[in-house]
């Protein structure tokens, strides 16, 4: 077998090929007539509002937008958007979205999933969508718990967590979704928070603009079964010390008064948190790591992702970890079909006739 040069199309945005509209759209245009049925106080409401508010910014025709979800609380999302949508089966949304995105260049495809849906039952489809780089945006609502089945631990729950199915504490070590996505060759990997609408919207915009599989982990509070899981990064008093903000091209600095930052760890080759200042054991501003989301090599992005607490969340990098260009599966699949169609003469009917008559034939008169 030989490797064929695929002749990539030039760099394109995530929504190129999707018909646009000149009509002014508002969030209301994207709101369906169905009553939203999440628990009071659920973080999903905030994300829904943010998405409904953001979609008009894309300027796309509503009928060319498709939301696909799996099973779980967050997967009810498509019902509340007045676009095309499919609420599918547990864990399989990325595969269904792969079919939609590959079949149709003119659709903007979104996957809404949760930590159980995407990382447990559907883990396989998620990683393969990421490596193929199918043009779609995956919104992973991570509440670190199973909500719809009433409170079992999830693949992102902290070790030792007491839940209905783990009365003596969970034995599972959790996934770090960002590390996983980076390891799965993701080309766009970001993390944001349900309650920070401005940041959430900016990440959505970047994700939609990226051509390929855009993976967005959204920290989302479940007030019923895991309330307060993200308090440290949401609380006014603690969040500046807890959130490590990632902005491309800027030194990574955080903490009240910018007293902390990320530096290369010369011992491990990874990245560590350092105190910024001129005292002993402190580092100067110029030693801080400058965030490069466009680095081809994901090693540093991965190292940064490891600064997320596996246990109760006291510290987490937030922002776009990685955004690199790579040909998408669906563009290349369509290009192969186009090339094949371009290389033949005659209409499909006459070519079908020729195909059926191929090989060794004989005629009885």
């Amino acid at each position: 077998m030989s490797t064929t040069e695929l002749g990539l199309p030039g760099l394109r945005t995530g929504t190129e090929g999707v018909p646009t509209t000149e009509d002014t759209q508002t969030g209301k245009d994207f709101t369906s007539d169905q009553e939203v049925r999440w628990c009071p106080g659920c973080g999903d409401y905030a994300v829904l509002k943010a998405v409904q508010g953001f979609l008009p910014d894309l300027g796309l025709r509503r009928e060319n937008i498709v939301f696909v979800s799996g099973i779980g609380c967050s997967s009810r999302f498509p019902y509340y958007l007045d676009t095309f949508g499919m609420h599918s089966i547990h864990g399989r949304a990325p595969s269904i979205a792969t079919g939609i995105a590959t079949a149709r260049e003119d659709l903007s495809v979104w996957v809404v999933t949760g930590d159980g849906d995407a990382l447990s039952i559907g883990g396989n489809h998620l990683i393969h969508a990421l490596r193929r780089n199918v043009n779609m945006t995956v919104l992973l609502f991570n509440n670190r718990i199973y909500g719809l089945t009433k409170g079992q631990y999830s693949p992102t729950s902290e070790p030792g967590k007491i839940t209905k199915s783990t009365p003596m504490g969970s034995l599972d070590h959790p996934f770090n979704p960002v590390s996983l996505a980076l390891g799965a060759e993701g080309t766009f990997v970001a993390r944001t928070i349900d309650s920070d609408r401005k940041h959430l919207t900016s990440v959505l915009a970047a994700a939609a603009a990226h051509r390929g599989t855009s993976f967005v982990e959204i920290y989302q509070n479940c007030p019923i079964f895991n309330d307060g899981a993200f308090d440290a990064i949401k609380d006014r008093d603690t969040k500046e010390d807890a959130i490590i903000p990632l902005r491309h091209g800027e030194p990574i600095r955080f903490g009240v008064g910018g007293t902390k930052g990320l530096v290369r760890d010369t011992v491990t080759g990874g990245v560590r948190v350092a105190d910024v200042g001129s005292g002993e054991g402190e580092v100067g501003e110029d030693a801080l790591l400058v965030h490069d989301a466009h680095a081809e090599d994901p090693t540093t992005a991965f190292a940064i992702s490891r600064l997320t607490d596996a246990g109760y969340l006291h510290q987490a990098p937030i922002g776009i970890f990685r955004q690199v260009e790579r040909g998408t599966y669906d563009d290349q699949a369509r290009a192969q079909v186009t090339t094949a169609r371009g290389g033949v003469d005659g209409d499909d009917s006459s070519r079908l006739d020729a195909l059926l008559h191929g090989g060794d034939t004989w005629t009885i008169a």
Partner: protein, 621 residues
Amino acid sequence: MTKQVKQLDRVIIRFAGDSGDGMQLTGDRFTQESAAFGNDLSTLPNFPAEIRAPQGTLPGVSSFQVHFADHDILTPGDSPDVLVAMNPAALRANLGDLRHGATVIVDTADFTSRNLTKAGYTQNPLDDGSLDEYAVHPVDLTGMTVEAVKEFGLTRKDASRAKNMFALGLLSWLYGRPTESTISFLERRFAKVPDIRDANVTAFKMGWNFGETTETFAVTYEIKPAPMSVGTYRNITGNLALSYGLVASGVQSGLPVFLGSYPITPASDILHELSKHKSFGITTFQAEDEIAGIGAAIGASFAGSLGVTTTSGPGIALKSEAIGLAVMTELPLLVVDVQRGGPSTGLPTKTEQADLLQAMFGRNGESPVPIVAPRSPGDCFDAALEAARIAITYRTPVMLLSDGMLANGSEPWRIPELSEIPTIDPAFATADGLGDDGFQPYQRDAETLARPWAVPGTAGLEHRIGGLEKGDGHGNISYDPANHDFMVRTRQAKVDRIAESLPPTQVDDPSGEAKVVVLGWGSTYGPIGAGCRRVRNAGGNVAQVHLRHLNPFPKDLGEILARYDKVLVPEMNLGQLSMLVRAKYLVDAVGYNQVRGLPLKAAELAEVIGKLVAEAEGDAR
């Protein structure tokens, strides 16, 4: 030397050797030569699941059986007339299947004490008289091949690999086969390696010449071409015909075909074949697993393609939940199950038809899925088109049940004219004439009960579907008890409604006096037909009905079965169709069931049918 020419009406040859000996290719070439000559034919490849089992051992034996005749035949044949055995293991593994007095051609080169031991022989069967009941021709095929090709400077190992072509040349001479197609095939196949090409062509020709000059073979055989109806023919396997049926379904419906699939024996060749036909707008997606294969196909169907997924029984088990999603969302989808021996991994390379009940019931809830089954390799083409018609017209997943015997077996196939291939109207929903309620994704067509197929990109038809129960008409989530009851019954009624579109069932009852009907489905068509012929030739009356549609059954089936005193249902399972017809029609179906991983034998069926006919006619007297 003048050789005697003997006329035969039919011959069954089995080529057998090690997995690496090229027996499938040899059999395939002999088949193509016979097809070109104009014989009717039927083939049965039989190979181990291991790609290269230990050389020279019984588990490593691969064989290819071809039955060719001067008349219309239905099966690859029960007992070979000729065995070509390339080593002791091939002889030992196949000897028991031969008819008495069969011709056995063995390559003596491999009959060393080591190889004899590997095959489980304590002494050489060529010397100990154990083969006396056969006409044995010991020939040093390998030695003569190596000698014949020495001018090309190949290693002994490479040179000896052409021995299969020497054997093919010899058999081609013995049965007067045309050789041009094999020579041009070898020239194409090995175009880039001239040494190998020349060695194979030379070995093939030398095999022919050896037959002509040696005194070992005093007789050659002539099997005249079979009368066939007018038309252009080609030899075709079931997997190829099924692939072409899928290509044709796309062309005839105007829909792009999207195949989501995961490699699995014996279905993978459909994925391979469709991958070659992107020029028809076909997209093939090799998924990460069986579930993703069907998931992507469902997504593509939602987006307006003809979604197809291909697999075998274990894959169906994995896809079951997704098939249920397609039932609930009422999207067109083709699910191709090339059945193999089960349960679990079972017998990957052997045939069986034990997935019928899985296709029928293997999902949670009331989840009706139409089932279509081809009866012969060439028939896979028509069956695929019929499955596509049902899927598209009724907006439903359709199960297409092929099997390993159909997939790899071949027969002459009359190539249909374009005008004979049905067209299929996808009839996408449009926004024209929407009422005040807006688009109703679960409003149904009065005749078919199908819901609209509204593809993304159509303004005004934005809607959401999913696996949760849908409200009648509007399609929003509904937990209403009466609605669920109504929707469950409606989905069933829609599938039942397909029967309205089916032609009357063909009953083959030549005398019109039969008291016994043999009911079958799938690849047992050939053996059942051959069994019925034998019974009729012996003066018995028997009717044959073979089902294309397993769900729903044709409307007239109950009435047809009721006409006969006895209903015999031969199957390569423990009685799955029997169970269905007993449940549906309360008929006392008698099963004839074999699960050996091999096709049913015509002779066995003739005996069973004959006995039942005698009983039934005895009852009448």
